[in-house]
Symmetry: C3
Subunit: 213 residues, 3 copies
């Protein structure tokens, strides 16, 4: 299908970014080689596997090697250039853009699957969300961090917004390629705006510890 | 089916209680809005989703909006009345009763699914258990608490007891509505008794730190 | 099938070892009776359940009581002999051998399922890995330890190596009983060698905290 083929292109950029992010975390946490591999794979493809478990189909990555090759090459390259020892503003900027593309592409791919299964809005949004951030959540749970998604403002929210938009489009029969690409661009823009503009969600418990009110 | 329709009524009370419990935890942990939503949904419907993944069917909540509407209204109301800022004995008592009803209703609903799939006792009990407490376990793992179920005496046990009773009843062909309702009442009574009577399970390692024996 | 029947024998030894390991951890963590049961079951059969969820089939343990009886008898015996209060070199050695047998038998059983489903190398290896260590990972996540697999060198690696070997054998049509048994023996030998010879995987971040380089 055209749409999916197209989003696949973005998904590969996202896979690269997510693999890099998992690799860096694993190295920083002083894991051994296997640990780094596990954390990298969880970040890059864990969400897709959980999504496939939710809808009861064999995980795509068990059948198709594309993403695995992309991840292997990414990690090899990251290791060869000693990425974990660099600190570089251009690199960071590139990474954030690639990560945003991945976030939105994965969210749209997951949501699209939900639309194909005729799920309700919750199902469509959850599949988008899980595809994009599920792997990162499990990774954080494994290394005993509170999942980034519970703290990192406007990351998961972007996933939810673009999945919800796809659901609405599909309900009106407007989910053709151009519309989805518009959602894609808007989603990436929202994420980058949130990152550099420091948007954040309100907290319900606004009082700080140590204050009475 | 009559039984399920009937238990559904209790399940809705349970969904309300579980949603409130997730909401309060999220606020107390100072999560942002999305974090509170995630924690609330996990508590209220996470167990049912895991159960559906175990038996390989599309999660019910992806197809039916009832529980989602109940949760949304509950959280909205909880927020409107600033529930997280109240401390109130009547409220606490009501909450514990509703939570007990949810625990038992969810356990019976999960166990019933296992009976319908002709599972063994373990499968029936596990499905009941996972439906009732699986969401809370994942929630606690996410926010880095040791799951309440590993410490909170006679909570999970109640789930296991009622699911086991349903299994036994079904084996003898006695799982008609009246019998299941008796199990339901007994289960809620056991939970409340355990809560207010401070029943607890024995520990295998009885010696305390700092003692020799 | 001959192969599976045969590996089942080893799997039972492994189930015993994994049940003992879960039991000891639960007692050491001062969990109550239910907590010990949960941790024991997760360690012994959690991996198999996750594997079955991945391939979308009803968990075997919901249909067949064999493993459950083995686990129940194991824990009962462990408790009767107060295993958690003994410290004994012979016992430890026996345990490590049984655990290694379990690790390799579970890995082969999981990988074999992947071969039967015609999965790619990643799918075959992941199913072997998850069957062998998935339950232990979830257990460690529940009790808030960083999963042993991320630190315990050459444990998960053994699982991956034997599953990969089975995949290669199957591709060449060499996965008959004798070849698989050779892989089995080699896998157990590798694990014991790693344990007593203190093999370990390299870390990518070799510098320690507190040093500059």
């Amino acid at each position: 299908m055209d749409l999916l083929l197209d989003l696949d292109g973005y998904s590969i950029i996202g896979t690269v970014a997510f693999a890099v992010s998992g690799y860096l975390l694993g190295v920083r946490k002083h894991l051994d080689l296997l640990g780094v591999v596990i954390v990298t794979l969880l970040t890059a493809i864990g969400g897709g596997i959980i999504r496939d478990m939710l809808v009861g189909r064999m995980p795509m990555v068990f059948l198709d090697n594309t993403n695995l090759v992309v991840i292997a090459l990414t990690v090899l390259l990251a290791w060869l250039v000693r990425l974990h020892k660099r600190e570089n503003e251009v690199l960071t900027t590139l990474f954030i853009i690639a990560d945003s593309i991945g976030l939105v592409a994965f969210s749209l791919a997951g949501a699209k699957l939900g639309v194909e299964f005729h799920l309700n809005a919750f199902g469509v949004i959850l599949l988008g969300f899980v595809t994009a951030v599920g792997g990162g959540i499990v990774r954080d749970m494994m290394v005993n961090d509170v999942p980034f998604i519970l703290h990192k403002d406007f990351y998961g929210t972007v996933s939810i917004v673009v999945a919800a938009l796809l659901f609405v489009l599909s309900r009106f029969g407007w989910d053709h390629l151009l519309a989805v690409q518009l959602v894609f661009v808007a989603g990436v823009a929202l994420r980058l705006l949130a990152h550099w503009g420091e948007l954040s969600l309100p907290k319900l418990a606004t009082q700080r510890k140590g204050r009475d009110n």
